[in-house]
């Protein structure tokens, strides 16, 4: 006898009977459920005396036969009877899935949710910034509460360990700018202006901007992931109950570290970009380093350096703030940590670029263009 579940429809004394055979178990069901859903004649009885094994899924199918067609189940073993009773008790017409909505409605809903999310995230970030300012005020009034060790530790992870990658990136970008600039300027016979290009764009813009992107990717994401996992493990709550404000112990040291280190890293990055550009000018255009430096001093005004260095701490603060804010928003499950980490980086880079545009307008209108 085959083990696969099967059934035949018979007429016994004018009554329609469904006779099952094989094993009514999840492993042997085959297409029985689909076929049972489209029975043409309503069965009066379901005969399971030829069935040699039933599990809960089989019992469920029999239960549905009884529920939907009103069929009487005969020939069930004691164990099968018990299973059918058990699933009958467990029949709850609740839905496991939400209703499908129309396509347009879903798109509109997504757009609406995304808008609300973006606005509330911005509002949350502002509130978080406020909280941080209050914490800073408290620490200023009681300088003993500054966690100096934590700050210095962050200096190392945010700053010192980043020197290698930031340096390499900057050096290569310097070369690329000089090379691309030289190719274009050569058409006008103005290759010497490559020095202006490299000197001004790196000190004003790229040094700090590229560093900000790197720091957001390295440290902003790390902040979000660290604080997020601490949040999940209820460590942040434990801190609060002990009386250690997370704002002071977790967030202030991190934001302070990025704020203070961004100008340093940005300056370092600018210098390496100029070195890279200078190297290309020397090798590619035959401009010796002495000439390069002399020319640099003539064409790059001091204000360019101030522009770069004034922006850097603001960017640093934004990166630290976004990382910590997103980390503190983690709740629920592990996937959230990943999402919030991504959000921290995206938010930080986005805000940095928006602010950079504002700074550009501001500095040119105060005559530092």
């Amino acid at each position: 006898m085959s083990l696969e579940a099967d059934f035949t429809e018979l007429d016994e004394g004018g009554e329609r009977v469904v006779r099952f055979s094989g094993r009514l178990t999840i492993a042997r069901l085959g297409d029985v459920p689909q076929r049972l859903d489209v029975l043409e004649v309503r069965p009066v009885r379901a005969d399971v005396s030829a069935v040699d094994r039933v599990d809960t899924v089989g019992a469920w199918i029999l239960h549905k036969l009884k529920r939907d067609y009103g069929a009487e189940i005969v020939g069930a073993s004691d164990f099968a009877e018990r299973l059918i009773r058990q699933v009958t008790i467990a029949d709850d017409p609740a839905k496991t899935h939400h209703d499908d909505e129309s396509h347009l409605r879903r798109i509109l809903q997504n757009v609406g949710e995304a808008t609300i999310d973006a606005l509330s995230s911005l509002k949350g970030l502002l509130a978080f910034f406020g909280g941080l300012l209050i914490a800073t005020g408290t620490v200023l009034r009681h300088p003993g509460r500054l966690r100096l060790n934590a700050v210095v530790q962050r200096f190392e992870t945010v700053g010192v360990s980043a020197l290698g990658i930031v340096g390499l990136m900057s050096f290569l970008i310097g070369i690329v700018i000089a090379q691309q600039g030289a190719v274009q300027l050569r058409q006008f016979g103005a290759e010497v202006f490559t020095i202006n290009l490299v000197g001004r764009i790196t000190t004003r813009e790229l040094g700090v901007l590229m560093t900000a992107i790197m720091v957001a990717g390295r440290s902003g994401s790390a902040f979000a992931a660290q604080i997020g996992s601490m949040k999940l493990a209820e460590e942040v709550d434990a801190m609060r109950t002990i009386g250690v404000p997370p704002m002071e112990a977790l967030i202030l040291p991190r934001v302070l570290a990025t704020t203070l280190l961004m100008p340093l890293l940005g300056f370092y990055s600018t210098v390496l970009m100029i070195i890279g550009g200078g190297l290309l000018c020397w090798i590619g255009l035959g401009i010796p380093p002495e000439t390069f430096i002399l020319r640099l001093r003539e064409v790059v005004p001091m204000t360019d350096l101030w522009v770069g260095l004034l922006k850097a701490p603001v960017f640093g603060m934004i990166i630290g703030l976004a990382g910590c804010y997103q980390g503190m928003q983690v709740r629920g499950n592990n996937e959230e940590v990943g999402q919030r980490t991504t959000a921290a980086v995206v938010q930080a880079i986005f805000l940095v670029i928006v602010l950079d545009a504002f700074f550009a307008v501001f500095f040119s209108s105060v005559g530092w263009g």
């Binding site: 492993a27 709850d92 629920g332």
Partner: protein, 257 residues
């Protein structure tokens, strides 16, 4: 055949570096019984469970389940074994990114790809209701459930494939006494209805008294005794005496009457 133990462990040795957890450990679980495993913290109850279900490779020892040696089993036989048992982990171990219903469907989808979506939903729902939750809880995420509900949801997942053998790791830990008692009843009820054999790790003396057919005591790196609670009480081992005759043990016994 039916007299053979469902699980049989012989001469098991487990160690982590220098630290030996089990040495020459024997244990049997018979068909249709609920075996409670007790022991102090750090005596390796969970390690024993992990060895039996194949998550921890023992140094030496034979482990047979349904009469088959699991260390000699091929990958395919192993997979086949896995369909026949369910495991309830201590903290539920529900997949946090899936809803309760989807959690229950995971094993079914994995093993039986021919089951269609609507039947899958129905199966998940009745398993969830069978485990003492409400059908409305099915679309919820584990983080939206309380501790007790999470345990029930995890139980529903462990019952997804209609196992004949169920492993429960401290099922009532962290539940309030009322919740724990009703969970005990649920286990007993399901065991009767589904004909389960249960391997149960617990610290809960009430659980031991109400639902366990036999109790195995883990101490000194091995199972020092196993039998009904009455049989254990007759032994003269200091830990066993303290465990069952301590204030909590006596209270649990009195409660059972």
């Amino acid at each position: 055949m039916s007299d053979d133990p469902i699980i049989s462990v012989r001469g098991l040795r487990n160690s982590f570096g220098e630290h030996v957890v089990h040495e020459n450990l024997d244990i049997d679980v018979n068909k249709g019984e609920i075996l409670g495993v007790v022991g102090g913290s750090g005596t390796g109850k969970s390690v024993l469970l992990r060895s039996i279900i194949g998550l921890q490779e023992p140094d030496v020892g034979e482990i047979s389940i349904f009469g088959e040696r699991i260390d000699c089993a091929t990958a395919e036989e192993n997979l086949d074994l896995r369909r026949r048992w369910g495991v309830l982990f201590q903290n539920g171990a529900l997949f946090s990114t899936l809803t309760v219903a989807e959690n229950v469907q995971v094993p079914i989808r994995e093993f039986y790809k021919n089951i269609d979506e609507s039947l899958l939903c129905e199966i998940a729902t009745f398993k969830i209701v069978m485990s003492g939750l409400h059908g409305d809880d099915a679309p919820k995420y584990p983080s939206e459930l309380s501790g007790g509900m999470r345990k029930r949801a995890a139980l529903a997942r462990s019952l997804a494939l209609d196992p004949v053998l169920l492993f429960l790791d401290e099922p009532t830990a962290g539940l309030d006494p009322i919740g724990a008692a009703s969970f005990d009843n649920l286990i007993l009820e399901l065991k009767e209805a589904l004909g389960l054999t249960i391997f149960l790790i617990t610290h809960d003396l009430d659980t031991l008294h109400t639902i366990c057919d036999r109790v195995a005591v883990l101490a000194d790196r091995k199972v020092i005794a196993s039998g009904t609670i009455e049989e254990l009480l007759a032994l003269d081992h200091p830990w066993i005496q303290e465990y069952f005759n301590g204030p909590r043990g006596r209270a649990a016994m009195a409660a059972k009457g």
